[in-house]
């Protein structure tokens, strides 16, 4: 037989791989077993929301309702005492049709006067995520466009990329501008960008988002867009809905029933 020594060395080399594989396998195995979800956590593949604008409008007309906005901002320690539009910070707010849907003309229709609640659209194809240089903003496995404040360097590329203005920048330490700090949820620091997180921390506890919970008119419907039997899919199926700026191709996950 020729090449005996060479064959032997090849086999020995392959065998030595085995020496390294066990510690590697152990490290991965150990890593995963220690971490888990709460059993009651809501699990979805593609969280989304439908806003029933007419229901919302009725309630707004009746008593100037701002329940969803207030609930969200309290839950997440949003500094609402900052004055002026330049440095204000908002996760969910109300605007007019022409601002929410520019280019989709609705002159002299009922849409002109309806209040539209707008928030981060948690796009399927989020431009903010594509431009983030540190991957501080990313798409989580349930479809939520998340912010990792630990990693944000405050470059504000995401704010420039977002076509919905859903992101706000902390120009100054937000703590003095929070009416009452809720200890359970962290605040932010100066120099990071923040936005709606679809209440990822509440979903992990099996609760619906704060805005959905707070809406007495039941105008906000939250659910898994990937599940054809979910309530939100049913609402979208049975009603005429529009999404903001679909022509940009970001594929928003917030639908408006009009």
């Amino acid at each position: 037989m020729k090449n005996t020594r060479r064959d032997f060395l090849k086999a020995a080399g392959l065998c030595s791989l085995g020496l390294f594989s066990k510690p590697v396998k152990d490290a991965f195995a150990q890593d995963e077993s220690a971490y888990s979800r709460r059993p009651e956590a809501l699990v979805g593949k593609r969280w989304g929301m439908a806003v029933d604008v007419k229901k919302c409008a009725e309630k707004v007309e009746k008593d100037q309702c701002k329940d969803c906005i207030a609930a969200c901002h309290v839950a997440h320690n949003v500094p609402t005492n900052i004055e002026g539009p330049k440095e204000e910070i908002k996760w969910i707010w109300r605007t007019t049709y022409e601002h929410a849907f520019p280019g989709l003309d609705a002159k002299y229709t009922h849409l002109e006067d309806l209040p539209f609640v707008v928030l981060c659209n948690h796009c399927d194809n989020p431009p903010c995520v594509r431009v983030c240089p540190t991957k501080a903003t990313f798409v989580a496995k349930d479809g939520i466009v998340m912010m990792d404040f630990h990693r944000c360097i405050g470059c504000r590329y995401c704010m420039a990329a977002c076509p919905f203005g859903s992101r706000s920048f902390n120009f100054k330490d937000p703590r003095p501008f929070i009416p009452e700090i809720r200890t359970e949820f962290p605040t932010r620091m100066r120099g990071v960008v923040e936005k709606c997180n679809f209440c990822a921390e509440r979903l992990a506890e099996g609760l619906l988002p704060a805005c959905v919970d707070a809406c007495k008119a039941k105008a906000l419907i939250f659910g898994d867009l990937a599940d054809p039997d979910s309530e939100v899919r049913q609402v979208i199926r049975e009603n005429y809905t529009i999404r903001r700026k679909v022509y940009l191709g970001t594929q928003p996950s917030v639908f408006y029933v009009i």
């Binding site: 077993s33 220690a34 971490y35 888990s36 979800r37 709460r38 956590a41 990313f138 989580a140 496995k141 349930d142 998340m146 990792d148 404040f149 630990h150 700090i181 200890t183 359970e184 949820f185 962290p186 605040t187 932010r188 620091m189 990822a200 992990a204």
Partner: protein, 133 residues
Amino acid sequence: MYNTGKIIIGLVIFVGLIGYPIWSSIGTPSPQPELVLTAKAKAAKECIESTEFMKASHMKVVDEWRNKVVREKDRIYTASNGKEYVMSLTNTCLDCHSNKDTFCDRCHNWASVRPYCWDCHNVPKGKENEEHS
């Protein structure tokens, strides 16, 4: 070189003065800070893992936790003794160690590390000096 003697003497004095903090502490370790355990922490006997492990690696644990919570959506940590903990700095760590100033800060100041956790994570109000024993 002119004035060699004077310059060398001057240099020796200069180095001696500038290095005073180093000479003076050689051989005598600075006293370690005395950490205060709250009644709740004492009653629990052990943190989520052994005391030695926590002393050496709590920062790695906290770093791992933040990645798991924010990025992987996991919220529960199962310790090596099988006990489950919610991964939260404010709600879990500071629940027992509710005396940040005499537990966290005392050691961090001594070691001259300035973690910026508290820029965002809240310290429960009124708990900072509670339950000293």
